[in-house]
């Protein structure tokens, strides 16, 4: 039924790296899985990401980062999301995030990190299985 609630996902690239092939691959895969994916392009600031998530009322945010700046940017992003009251949005991340940083990122509230080699099926499955319950 066309009114069935769709899963809305924001795929965002924080920071200054300009490698967005991975982000686009994930975005397309999620679209092919029936989701509405908002892709906002390169060089997003934490403020832009949080504001976009708010205006678009997304259920999920996927952060793609390859520059190594995740330890600086992710805390800021999670902070902004909290400020906007978006604590019920599921956040996952991917790109180049070393194994040793994963638990630190998860402590910030990022539910899962998908490193290189993750299949799109895995990501789709994860999103479907862990959708936040929103009213």
């Amino acid at each position: 039924m066309e009114d069935a609630r769709k899963i809305r996902v924001l795929i965002a690239k924080p920071g200054l790296d300009s490698h967005d092939r991975g982000a686009k691959v994930v975005a397309r895969a999620l679209r092919d899985a029936g989701m509405e994916v908002i892709y906002t392009g390169l060089r997003q600031t934490p403020e832009q990401i949080a504001e976009t998530a708010l205006q678009e009322d997304v259920d999920v945010i996927g952060l793609s980062i390859l520059s190594g700046a995740h330890r600086t940017l992710f805390p800021r992003i999670m902070e902004r999301l909290k400020e906007q009251g978006l604590t019920d949005v599921m956040v996952f991340a991917g790109g180049i995030i070393p194994e040793e940083d994963v638990s630190e990122m998860k402590k910030l509230g990022i539910k899962e990190i998908f490193g290189p080699g993750t299949t799109t099926e895995e990501i789709i499955r994860y999103v479907m299985d862990n959708l936040p319950k929103r009213d």
Partner: protein, 319 residues
């Protein structure tokens, strides 16, 4: 106060989170939707709603970014609804119009929402009209609706917007393209973008020629403007024309009344059709009447149209 009342109140005070929730509620036809619309409806009718349509790649999103900046320079607040197509096969959508406008997302006077057509025909989604109403009620001076990239039949935008801008870019077709029906007929303003290209002048002339052959829309002669969206060239002049059209609509109260009445009628009939068909189909399904006839259709004992006639007549007679 119920949650719906809270959200409605939030919308009316311009709270962004409430606006976001409200659009989600009506887009998904959630149970609170009718009550929500009922509460905000009396506060609509103040915003200038502008529709922007035209072939994909003509530069709509880029131009909108410049249009919004110009309105902001003039102290106006703006809402933008950017529509992209839903895949008929997967039900999903890639909503990428925001990319060109992202610098505006942290401007408090701008609200941008991406919507998927969800297989509604005509370049917009079924909820676009109500989403525009929500932005209107939230106090935005201008609401811009960007349709999914248009061929020639994306004319549903006329049901949503008061001023329609049709965008062209050079090289998308010759004079014959310009004459084709559909979106060329609905334009209040024509824009030829990428005007720095060679054949931009010819495109503008083709459109002007076509216009001379058509009837004018009740006293308003659609201007043909040239812009370069990447640099913003031509945008102040475009805004001037948009304002002129708004004044034209407000000045001609008789014309405006008839437009409002047509809009009201369209919306009422659409709402009635939706409810009747939903109620009727639900009833028929519950009574198992559909399954009975499916068998006969497969065996070619009856054609679908006649079967529908039978079912509907019976249902109406019983009503």
């Amino acid at each position: 106060m119920t949650k719906t009342e809270e959200i409605a109140k939030g919308v009316l005070s311009g709270d962004r989170r409430s606006i976001a929730k409200a659009i989600t509620i009506i887009e998904n036809s959630m149970p609170e939707a009718p009550k929500l619309i009922a509460q905000i409806f009396p506060h609509t009718g103040k915003a200038h709603i502008i529709g922007l349509t035209g072939a994909g790649g003509a530069g709509k999103s880029t131009l909108i970014e410049k249009i919004v900046r110009e309105y902001r320079r003039k102290g106006k607040t703006v809402g933008v609804i950017a529509v992209d197509p839903t895949s008929p096969f997967t039900g999903g959508a890639f909503l990428g119009d925001r990319i060109r406008m992202q610098e505006l997302s942290t401007d408090e006077g701008v609200y941008i929402r991406s919507m998927a057509t969800r297989n509604y025909a005509g370049g917009i989604s079924r909820a676009t009209n109500d989403a525009a109403k929500i932005l209107d009620a939230s106090g935005k001076d201008v609401v811009i609706v960007e349709t999914a990239g248009a061929g020639q039949s994306e004319v549903e935008i006329v049901k949503v917007a008061q001023t329609i801008v049709v965008m062209h870019a050079p090289g998308l077709g010759d004079e014959i393209q310009a004459i084709k029906a559909g979106i060329m007929e609905i334009a209040d303003v024509f824009v030829v973008n990428k005007a720095d290209r060679e054949n931009a002048n010819k495109t503008a002339i083709d459109i002007q020629t076509m216009l001379q052959m058509c009837n004018k829309k009740a006293g308003w002669k659609p201007p043909v403007l040239k812009t370069v969206a990447l640099t913003g060239e031509g945008v102040p002049e475009l805004i001037e024309k948009l304002e002129e059209h708004r004044c034209f609509l407000e000045a001609d109260t008789e014309f405006r009344e008839s437009l409002l009445k047509t809009k009201a009628e369209d919306e009422l009939l659409e709402a009635i059709k939706e409810r009747i068909s939903r109620a009727l189909i639900d009833q028929l399904q519950r009574q198992g009447k559909l399954d009975e006839l499916l068998h006969e259709i497969v065996e070619k004992k009856i054609d679908p149209a006649s079967a529908a006639e039978k079912l509907v007549k019976k249902a109406i007679d019983h009503a």
